[in-house]
Symmetry: C2
Subunit: 360 residues, 2 copies
């Protein structure tokens, strides 16, 4: 089985502003350790896919930075989307690219901006998902065992168990949108609901067939693109065809309609690193619950508790403050209570109103 | 009358840390406008004393920065103290320097790190103080009309009025140390107590005579220094003699003992710029009471009130925070409630304990 890793790096989230910017989204940031989330994602997949079989789908605005961060990848393995067209198009593009080389190969699709705690379990789980995708003509989705009643993720309801050996493989009974808290609590208790992770495994030709069945317009666009993929005309062809592709998620557009689905239950520690607040679980805390990026900066706290600091290498001197997020970049300093740091979008909306786009 | 301005720039305060550092004390900082407090002090005195008659007494650690900030001053007008020996020695040194040139000249002694609101009134008040010092053999001190019951300043109790024309000139009845709040309130009500400003006027020879009378050891040291002052041996001589000078304030050592004292009542708006908190009166506030250095940086506040920011040119994005002081420098970010920013010394004490002297 030939395995290709397809890394979805098209995000442009704002929740790590001001560290994340339009030109430097979250996946390109170094939030833990020495490497960016994207680089860590590629590193982590090393045992499964060597650089020549790693694809990165990203926005054309970020291509240069991706090339710089991943010099080991052949440049044609960076697929530059001229604009976002959601995940069905991105997955389809990658599958079409892989199919040009090796139609029977399996694509492992992974977000660029997640953190994984237990990498060995991550690799063995993905390996099992890839095997399943190679053996059977199925679309495989990974479902994460929920740790709390999250309202920020979609859920996958599992059906009949196909293989009880860990990682457990099941039929998919249903997909559920982000629930309210009461529903999320029911899901958590049921034992049958898993977080929809955005990680998938499928053979390139299997996904292309399913796209043809459920999203024929996208399928036609990909057929038009196909001859130029992996070659020098790739970028030009994308510029030409991409704007007219339908914009829909692979979940809505394909998975929810498909009859050949499996879900693999994943138990490796995982974080989608959703906001600065999430760093309280990922950074090492001092005795007073303050945290910063270890090795990058240090906190000097007096009467201060529960603060999260990203200070671009500075000493963070905290005197009598608690539960704040403090972020310093070249041109911005952000101060907010941890509880409000998910509202950073409000700051950005008002920056737009003031015409201060250079800070977005 | 020849008038010399003697600017006392020996301070090494910590209350503007991390902007102020051991190598860059408050008087060398630009906290308002385009010029440092020291530069503003020299600029303001222009109508009274041209550069060749401005002396700056500073610590040798700061001499280079002072020379750089005041290129218009002849280098021999910078008097470098090898170590601090309090204000009696500094005033005596300047008087000895002036006496070498012109024994009858008047010295106006002024701190380098104050801000003055009404500069015209400042100049006319100082002019009157200098006249008085020139006409009579008296030591003249300026007393500021108190605006609130300050516990952070010493007070001058006025005696018999010598000239009721503004600025009112009086005898000095007594000097009082920093009072407790109840006493400060009594002082404020009495109408007879003025803040001790650290601003003085005297003829060089009059001060030297008084030093000879009340601080003979200091007087002998100054006599030893005198031949080398204003000449190429000045610095070397200071290195040699200064360490043995007694360390005492001019208030304690001379003024409180002298029988030839006058106080001039000063009513120009004044600030000793005592801490970041003081900037709330000196910076322009936005509609929500947030303030930064105008023209240097800007505040973008959402649900945020009463914050003071010095962000080294950055945009300060404040979301849901109030009454904080936020200071960003090349290597430090400080966050503290405004009410605590006078305790910044505690942070510095603990930095020393941790061996992080490079941040002091």
């Amino acid at each position: 089985m030939n395995l290709y890793a397809v890394i979805m790096a098209g995000g442009s989230g704002t929740r790590f502003w001001p560290a994340s910017r339009q030109k430097r989204p979250k996946q390109l940031l170094t939030l833990t350790g020495e490497r960016s989330l994207l680089q860590q994602t590629v590193d982590r997949l090393g045992p499964l896919a060597p650089p020549e079989r790693v694809l990165v789908v990203t926005g054309s605005m970020h291509t240069d930075e991706v090339l710089e961060q991943l010099p080991e990848l052949p440049p044609e393995n960076i697929l530059s989307e001229p604009m976002g067209r959601n995940t069905a198009a991105a997955c389809g593009l990658a599958a079409a690219w892989v199919a040009r080389r090796d139609p029977g190969a399996v694509c492992l699709v992974l977000p660029a901006d997640h953190l994984i705690i237990d990498e060995a379990l991550f690799l063995s789980t993905l390996g099992r998902a890839a095997e399943l995708a190679a053996e059977q003509k199925v679309l495989v989705t990974l479902g994460l065992t929920p740790r709390f009643p999250a309202t920020g993720f979609g859920y996958i309801e599992t059906g009949e168990v196909a293989d009880p050996q860990p990682p457990v493989i099941s039929q998919v009974a249903a997909f559920h949108e982000k629930p309210d808290l009461a529903t999320a609590e029911e899901y958590l208790e049921s034992g049958r609901h898993l977080w929809n992770s955005g990680m998938f495994a499928w053979r390139a030709e299997v996904l292309l067939n399913e796209l043809d069945k459920h999203l024929p317009e996208l399928s036609r666009g990909l057929a038009e693109l196909s001859p130029s993929l992996c070659g020098p005309g790739q970028d030009e062809s994308l510029e030409c065809v991409y704007p007219d592709l339908p914009s829909i998620s692979v979940d809505h557009g394909v998975l929810e309609k498909s009859s050949c689905l499996r879900v693999v239950k994943a138990d490796f520690g995982w974080s989608d690193v959703g906001s600065w607040e999430a760093m309280s679980e990922l950074w090492e805390l001092d005795h007073h619950g303050n945290a910063c990026r270890e090795g990058k900066e240090q906190i000097h706290a007096v009467d201060s508790h529960g603060n999260l600091v990203s200070a671009d290498g500075r000493l963070a001197a905290l005197l009598g403050v608690k539960d704040l997020v403090v972020v310093v970049t070249d041109d911005v300093v952000l101060v907010a209570p941890r509880s409000k740091c998910q509202d950073v979008g409000r700051l950005l909306d008002e920056l737009k109103v003031k015409g201060l786009e250079e800070y977005l």
